[in-house]
């Protein structure tokens, strides 16, 4: 039997680290110590780039990570996070793991004020969706990764290696990707769903939900209109898509606009069909086998929830944390539990040992055909204030 703690790219041990720190200890300065205290608050501004490369390589005692709910493996009675415990065991760093991101917009609203004043938000890693990471980077709210602490970065999927906003992945690393499509109960809906248009069928009046994130919902409608949402989006096309959703609101067709919280009513049967995220439905299927997930024929949306280090976070420890989750064995444990699309190469092989069926699930390891049929919403269009306001008007606020 293989030692579960043996990993291919074993990171340096805590002792080695301490030794290394002691050797470089002459440079241990007060600001370094402050930074090492990780989010004590009031660390002024962003670290200048030159400093980021000579950051103290000392692990802090505890780091704080903000992520989305149900986005990491848990034990059977949901009291523990096994991979986080393994991380603590191996590095001695405790993880204060918060599941406090429910919506990118809302999360940004919460962190924006302190970050704009150059203050720490008491978090070492946050995991917003790519477009928000791009915004945070543009606003100067992020710190560079310490790549010397992330040898496992070689495992990053090639397709995710150079996004437009961070071409060399200097500030960010993907956590998981997701696909937006339709989650539904075929029995209640009365057949297969293949398009978003079908959600507007009067027979489903009051029994559907859509996502309150514009890029997911409008993205699917644009695709159905034959518009590629990853490219430039024409205002008339956008208005047309918005008008379709608005009409559905006026007709009382749409029961709610939701974040992750569509899962409750969908599993209880109050809602029959939802615009949904792939991993959520895979998780629900374990308890509600009646539910299906499908990507509309005209295409689905996708994006990457991405780890970044905000101002005030401890760069070295955060980078060590990222490195840990880029080990395929660890990534496999996470993927086997949360069923989203992992950005770590070699996970498919590693997951076969846990559950061979998972390796064949196209929602976790999408086939090339699936990947060709999903689109990432144009980041500039997401930032378009006019578009944002029109969307907010539709969802009633």
């Amino acid at each position: 039997m293989k030692d579960p703690f043996h990993r291919t790219n074993h990171p340096i041990t805590r002792e080695q680290l301490l030794r290394r720190a002691a050797v470089g200890g002459v440079t241990l300065s007060l600001p370094g110590l402050l930074a090492a205290c990780g989010g004590g608050g009031g660390i002024e501004g962003q670290q200048p780039e030159t400093e980021a490369t000579t950051v103290e390589q000392v692990l802090v005692d505890e780091i704080t990570v903000s992520n989305w709910p149900f986005y990491i493996d848990q034990n059977d009675d949901a009291t523990k996070f096994p991979t986080l415990e393994q991380f603590t065991e191996e590095t001695g760093v405790k993880v204060n793991y918060l599941e406090d991101i429910n919506s990118n917009e809302e999360f940004f609203g919460e962190i924006q004020a302190p970050l704009s004043r150059g203050q720490s938000i008491d978090r070492d890693i946050i995991v917003p969706t790519a477009w928000l990471c791009a915004r945070l980077l543009n606003l100067g709210y992020l710190q560079k990764l310490d790549k010397s602490a992330i040898p496992n970065i070689v495992n990053l999927e090639d397709s995710l290696a150079s996004p437009v906003w961070d071409p060399n992945r200097e500030y960010s690393l993907p956590w998981q990707s997701y696909i937006t499509g339709l989650g539904y109960d075929p029995k209640k809906v009365g057949g297969e769903l293949t398009s978003v248009e079908q959600l507007l069928d009067p027979a489903l009046k009051g029994k559907i939900t859509m996502l309150d994130s514009m890029e997911d919902t409008i993205g699917l409608f644009l695709l159905e209109m034959g518009v590629d949402p990853s490219g430039e989006i024409d205002p008339t096309a956008y208005d047309e898509a918005v008008a379709k959703v608005q009409k559905a609101v006026d007709d009382d067709q749409i029961r709610q606009f939701t974040g992750n919280d569509y899962t409750g009513p969908l599993s209880k049967g109050d809602v029959w069909a939802s615009i949904a995220w792939s991993g959520d439905i895979v998780i629900l299927q374990a308890d509600y086998p009646n539910l299906e997930f499908t990507i509309p024929d005209t295409g689905g949306m996708t994006s990457v929830d991405t780890m970044v280090i905000p101002t005030g976070g401890d760069v070295y420890t955060a980078s060590t944390f990222m490195n840990f989750f880029y080990d395929p064995e660890i990534a496999a444990k996470v993927a086997a539990y949360i069923n989203y699309i992992t950005p770590v190469k070699g996970t498919k092989e590693a997951i076969t040992e846990i559950d061979p069926a998972l390796a064949k699930d196209p929602l976790i390891f999408p086939t090339p055909e699936v990947l060709e049929n999903v689109y990432e919403f144009n980041a500039e269009a997401i930032e378009n204030v006019d578009y944002q306001e029109k969307w907010q008007a539709v969802i009633g606020v």
């Binding site: 919460e110 009051g206 609101v249 029961r255 709610q256 907010q392 606020v397």
Partner: protein, 285 residues
């Protein structure tokens, strides 16, 4: 001590100082800041600048009149409903509760040991489309066969009524409980019928409770957003939902602050009219 002896006039001010300091820090400063923010414009990307942007107010009013009206309507209906439920309830506890008074009061308050959010989420289950309540209502013909309760304005108003009921019931109870029972007896001795005794003695004496209760219920209810979000659809969005999303989601702080100021002023005006009509001196008992 000698200092105070010589400056006797200072004593009341010194006694007031903590209260005034509290009001300045937690009321005047935030209020000033809210007003200041409401006249700013800008976005997160370019920053926010103070420009006397009165546009925020006119836009807020034009765009969200519907949500304003809806909020006042829902809060008004919920307040009346809470009063109609609380009055007989607290009347009975105060006059017939006997030694069970405290226990019965505890029953009113007990559900509120559970957090607001959880209680409201529980209503999602209670009013579920295939749940007992809705099925029973369908049997009675009160809800159409394919109808629903959850995600309607009925559910939102019911949620608000339920969540703010103690704010109505407790002041009502206090004023009913304080009524001297001999007065009612005296009215009856003077040949007043039970109805007349209630209308001429009990009801007027309980007015301070009614006024305090309606204010305590109406004001927070008008600004509520949890019930509309969890029990309604986009067509039930209240002004609280708009303010919440403007502040937290689209970070349009200027307009969010303008909406808050408008809501505050509207409520203030309503209260002035209301207390003029029923008389403020009654509030003091």
């Amino acid at each position: 001590m000698t200092f105070l002896h010589h400056h006797r006039w200072l004593t009341p001010y010194l006694l007031l100082a903590p209260g005034i300091a509290f009001l300045v820090v937690f009321f005047v400063v935030p209020l000033y800041y809210l007003g200041y923010t409401s006249l700013q414009e800008g976005t997160v990307q370019v920053g926010y600048t103070f420009t006397w942007a009165w546009d925020n107010y006119s836009n807020a009013f034009d765009q969200y009149r519907e949500q304003f009206v809806r909020s006042l309507e829902y809060a008004g209906i919920a307040t009346v409903a809470a009063l109609l439920i609380s009055y007989p309830l607290t009347y009975w506890i105060a006059f017939r509760g006997g030694r069970w008074k405290n226990l019965l009061l505890l029953f009113i308050i007990a559900p509120f040991f559970v957090t607001y959010l959880i209680r409201t989420l529980a209503w999602q289950n209670i009013l579920s489309d295939d749940g007992l309540v809705v099925n029973a209502l369908q049997l009675l013909g009160l809800v159409a066969e394919d109808g629903r309760v959850l995600a309607t304005s009925t559910a939102v108003i019911a949620g608000i009524t339920y969540n703010f009921l103690p704010f109505m019931a407790l002041p009502l109870y206090v004023s009913l409980e304080q009524i001297d029972k001999d007065l009612i007896e005296a009215a009856k001795d003077l040949y007043a019928s039970s109805t007349k005794a209630f209308l001429r003695v009990t009801l007027p004496l309980s007015m301070p409770g009614v006024i305090a209760g309606t204010l305590l219920t109406f004001i927070p209810a008008a600004g509520d957003f949890i019930n509309a979000e969890l029990l309604g659809t986009p067509n039930q969005a209240m002004i609280g939902n708009v303010i919440q999303s403007k502040f937290l989601e689209i970070t349009d702080y200027g307009q969010a602050a303008a909406l808050s100021v408008i809501l505050m002023v509207v409520i203030l005006l309503l209260i002035v009219v209301y207390t003029r009509l029923v008389g403020t001196e009654r509030l003091a008992g």
